[in-house]
Symmetry: C2
Subunit: 381 residues, 2 copies
């Protein structure tokens, strides 16, 4: 028969974290709820869609302010959608939550009284217990950047589930994220300050899970602890525990498709190239092909173009920073190129080609920690 008083802002913040794990289309009725556990330590909220489980802890006190006043420990599962919406709109900071017969729960705040039909917390699935022997630690800023710079390249096609995820590859004191949908590849690496336990091998986490994790990571830079078990990963983000499963399957070895030498190498201003390709993309999009052509010119400029029989033609001239090697005519998916260019923060980029039918490599000029690959289109010139 749980009973406690709680501050609205703290409850709302915890709800906003765990509700990312609520699926509107769950086939398991109890998972359409948020589990509330009140104990002498504080209040814990839990939500899960089986792929992701999130737990948020609200302490009794925070910064010398009383957040929770426990009157009776206990647990209940409350229907997520209504609970989330109503708590946001309660009239007072002071909220009382009390569970009675048959998990019937009463929420009181100001002159509002809300009765909610609660569910039995015993029916709620247990979260995995992970051994904390093997922990790595990563600054949240780095983690956010690495997610942003790779996640767009994961496959949307569920027929090869492992490609819908980001590979976490540990080697030689480095962590590298790799994402590919077979048409393009994005990779980003960072140096690690510590030894990596052997359990951290072949870790692949779904792109959509990484996006949810990204949204929970705070604006300020904090250390995130990461624990890997056989089939699960746990991210500890201050008072939040974020559990997710590792995708099954073996991630393909992508190192072989990356050319080691180029026949043509260009240096281009990132913003100029992005804007030129964006205009060409606008037209190519209408043709539903996204095909854009790049042709090198004798005066060390390149011409970017796209055309549509129905609409017309876009032609762009860009001066290169440098051009080395053979002349080139190549066609590619402009959407893929834009996706890569948009997450490169460097002022200039290097593009390497090994012919009109071979992968295009895009890297920031000032850094070696990132690499993007796009397969070209075969088109009639």
């Amino acid at each position: 028969m749980l009973k406690f008083l709680i501050q609205k802002d703290a409850l709302n913040e915890a709800i906003s974290h765990v509700s990312r794990a609520i699926s509107s289309r769950t086939t398991i009725p109890i998972l359409s709820g948020i589990k509330v556990d009140a104990s002498h330590q504080g209040v814990v909220l839990t939500a899960s869609d089986t792929d992701i489980s999130i737990q948020s802890f609200i302490p009794l006190e925070q910064k010398n302010k009383v957040i929770v006043q426990l009157q009776q420990p206990g647990s209940v599962v409350l229907p997520a959608k209504f609970f989330v919406d109503i708590v946001k709109k309660l009239p007072s900071q002071d909220i009382e939550i009390e569970t009675g017969q048959g998990f019937q729960t009463t929420i009181r705040s100001g002159s509002s009284e809300i009765q909610i039909v609660g569910l039995d917390p015993e029916e709620y699935p247990l979260l995995p217990q992970l051994q904390e022997n093997h922990v790595i630690s990563l600054p949240s800023d780095i983690l956010k950047t690495m997610i942003r710079q790779t996640v767009f390249a994961v496959s949307a096609n569920e027929t090869t589930p492992v490609l819908t995820g980001i590979l976490w590859k540990f080697s030689e004191g480095k962590l590298k994220f790799v994402a590919t949908d077979r048409h393009r590849l994005a990779s980003r690496e960072t140096a690690l300050q510590q030894e990596v336990p052997t359990s951290f091998q072949n870790v692949v986490i779904a792109g959509k899970t990484m996006n949810e994790l990204n949204k929970i990571l705070p604006d300020e830079n904090i250390q995130i602890e990461i624990i890997v078990a056989e089939s699960q990963v746990l991210f500890k983000i201050e008072s939040i525990l974020f559990f997710t499963r590792i995708l099954d399957g073996t991630y393909p070895d992508t190192s072989k498709i990356i050319p080691q030498a180029y026949k043509t190498e260009l240096v281009l201003n990132t913003k100029q190239l992005t804007e030129a390709i964006d205009r060409a993309y606008l037209l190519s999009r209408e043709e539903k092909t996204n095909i854009v052509r790049l042709v090198t010119k004798e005066d060390e400029s390149v011409e970017i173009s796209s055309s549509s029989n129905e609409l017309g033609k876009v032609t762009e001239q860009i001066q290169t920073g440098s051009m080395v090697g053979e002349e080139l005519k190549i066609s590619f998916n402009s959407k893929y190129m834009l996706d890569a260019l948009k997450i490169i923060d460097s002022e200039n980029i290097q593009i390497g080609f090994t012919g009109a039918m071979s992968p295009i490599i895009i890297k920031p000029q000032e850094s070696t920690n990132m690499l993007h690959l796009i397969l070209p289109y075969r088109t009639v010139n």
Copy 2:
């Protein structure tokens, strides 16, 4: 063979106005374009979806700054979607537009060259020519407020087209907007500073058209000129002409359903009532009925409540500012009540009842220029 230079910002602003009249699903191919007319006066853009036509004029000079440099007058129709998107993204403020053989149009800006397949402007329908003998003038602030305070109550049901519009009713030196969907009614009036021509009778304009007009009205308060002809209305908003047709059909006489005396009258704080009903609505929405109950109490308070067998119950107590007349239990659609309460800017509202089965009247306490009516639900108490 049109040719002119134009400043990007001015062109974009004019495009943003006229593109509100572009329908993505037009059956008349020429209307998927924007007509460009360049003359010695300036450049005129025109777009139309047959219900709405919008014309925007760009002068040669504005605030002593050259906006347009005409080299050759002429006209062309350009495909709206691509034209709108590409002009936004052109690299330079200086844009050159030139039409050649077969309305093939070239746009040059910085190092971009865009070729667009244009269409014959002769095929573009002519806009109506309205006699400007009868003009009324209205401040844009008042017009915006009146639209916002009534448009939500128009009918979404196309079977009675006239009810999808707002009635403009002129009488005794006043202009009144009326909107109703047979379940609720919103009306708002304002005093006019001038005589109204007889052509201004039975003017009904589609709610969605009024919403588009609202978006074009500027943030600063200016005078809008309104010209009514037999089947068309023209709004002159500085350099913009906004044409729309008058909806066919006779608007029902709604004055009879508005009670002249009340059996119960309440004064309530608008914000308090809105928030209480919003919480009750959250639960009623889950039941898909939106039914909320209001019951007067002996201590001059009211109880607002809703319940759902599956989810639970919301109960709210609100102290009234005053309560006059009989005790009352009444049920109504909380969504309709919220729609009305949200657009009342007054601190307190008056609600008048003439029984559990009769219309509910909501008015701001400090003003008589607005009236909202909601029909109650018949429910088993």
